[in-house]
């Protein structure tokens, strides 16, 4: 029992990286990370709810500070979308970009929360032993977003160009419509279709996960003594400040890539 309760670095990291899991059904696939799901939905409700509350009372006259902030963000995103997407962006693409940016940004920002304090709170206040508060360090989240965008890509490809047009594009681009090249084209497009969601999701996941690991390492150093605690605090603060840039940048990149992929689906080669 003594070995179980003793806190080793491995256990420390392991504890922080373990999801609270519920088995929905038998089988490895049917596990559900409750912490990821609940945190992300709460953050989504918080973020979109805030925007909604502000927007509901939006006036065309002089805006309040909160409205000005939301407008600033929305106009920034709208501008980015306008430069990339050339259809009617207000129907779907721009609101989707806004959702992605706000949600992913909030989920990433959880990374800056002091890991051990939040772990203590979830354990002692809510009684949850395992609770990862950063949903984007769960590969399921990033893949869920990336694959949703991927399906939207295919949906818009078929919708804009028709099933025949999409097939034509799969077989006859980018190398040409010679039947000899069909296999090559298909292979090329297949690789593109596989690599897009992979790079899309793993970029976000990797960046945030790595950030989390570094916070854990700093936390481990801080546990070694006074000097460790001192330098750990300085490094932790530095890394957190640097991380503000990373979480925003990654949220922005994720949003921009989503917009670019959906835009590409709208355009024929």
């Amino acid at each position: 029992m003594a070995a179980d309760t003793e806190l080793t670095p491995t256990k420390y990291i392991d504890h922080h990286l373990t999801h609270m899991t519920v088995q929905v059904q038998e089988g490895a696939f049917w596990a559900l990370h409750i912490d990821t799901l609940v945190t992300s939905i709460l953050l989504g409700i918080l973020g979109m709810g805030f925007v909604w509350l502000v927007v509901r009372k939006a006036t065309p006259g002089v805006p309040s500070k909160r409205q000005a902030f939301v407008e600033l963000m929305i106009e920034f995103i709208d501008n980015e979308v306008k430069n990339t997407f050339h259809g009617n962006r207000h129907v779907f693409v721009a609101p989707t970009a806004l959702t992605i940016f706000v949600w992913v940004l909030l989920m990433n920002t959880m990374d800056i929360m002091p890991i051990d304090i939040t772990a203590w709170v979830t354990e002692n206040v809510f009684g949850l032993h395992y609770w990862k508060i950063v949903p984007t360090t769960d590969v399921n989240t990033t893949f869920a977003l990336a694959l949703s965008i991927w399906f939207l890509m295919i949906f818009f490809s078929v919708k804009v160009k028709g099933l025949g047009g999409w097939m034509y594009e799969l077989f006859c681009t980018p190398f040409g419509k010679n039947p000899l090249l069909w296999i090559l084209n298909l292979l090329f497009n297949f690789i593109e279709y596989v690599s897009k969601p992979l790079s899309h999701s793993l970029r976000l996941f990797g960046n945030i996960y790595a950030g989390e690991i570094i916070f854990l390492l700093i936390g481990m150093w801080a546990a070694t003594g006074v000097a460790g605690a001192f330098f750990g605090a300085i490094l932790g603060a530095g890394w957190a400040i640097f991380h503000i840039l990373i979480v925003t940048l990654q949220a922005f990149i994720f949003m921009m890539l989503s917009v670019v992929y959906i835009s590409m689906a709208h355009e024929s080669h």
Binding site: F29, A31, P60, G61, L98
Partner: protein, 157 residues
């Protein structure tokens, strides 16, 4: 790092949030922003119009000023002309009046001369008669020569 059912639930959450944003968040704000853009555009247009009107008003005022100046100079010209006319008239009138006065004075003088001559003649006649009377007193009877004297007196007149 294991793919599991979380992925599907996250995807569902994601689509719900997208639906919510598309339906409830984006349209009202877009409306507000577009309305404000319209207001700003209207304001700018009104400002432009105001500037244009100001320009026109400035043009109009300078035109009016020019006209007024022209009118004023015309009036001054007329007044000067009229003034010189009046002066001319006054001169003429004064000349006529002077001539008249001179003519009157001349007539008066003539009259005076005539009456002076008359009285002189009378005096001379009287003196002559007196002289003649003194000369003739001794030689001539007044009664005898009265007729002669009267005729002389008549001649002298």
């Amino acid at each position: 790092m294991n793919i599991n059912f979380t992925l599907i639930s996250q995807a569902l959450a994601f689509s719900t949030f997208i639906w919510f944003t598309v339906k409830f968040v984006w349209p009202p704000l877009l409306r507000a922003i577009e309305e404000r853009q319209k207001t700003i555009a209207d304001g700018l247009a009104a400002g432009e119009r105001g500037r244009h009107e100001l320009e026109l008003a400035g043009q109009r005022s300078s035109e009016i000023l020019k006209e007024a100046k022209q009118q004023a100079s015309e009036i001054i010209l007329q007044a000067e002309k009229r003034a010189s006319e009046i002066v001319e008239e006054a001169k003429n009138a004064a000349k006529v009046e002077g001539d008249r006065i001179i003519a009157g004075a001349k007539a008066e003088i003539d009259h005076e001369i005539f009456s002076a001559k008359e009285s002189l003649r009378q005096h001379a006649a009287n003196l002559a008669i007196a002289g003649a009377t003194k000369i003739l007193r001794k030689e001539v009877d007044a009664n005898v020569h009265a007729e002669l004297l009267a005729s002389i007196e008549e001649d002298l007149k």
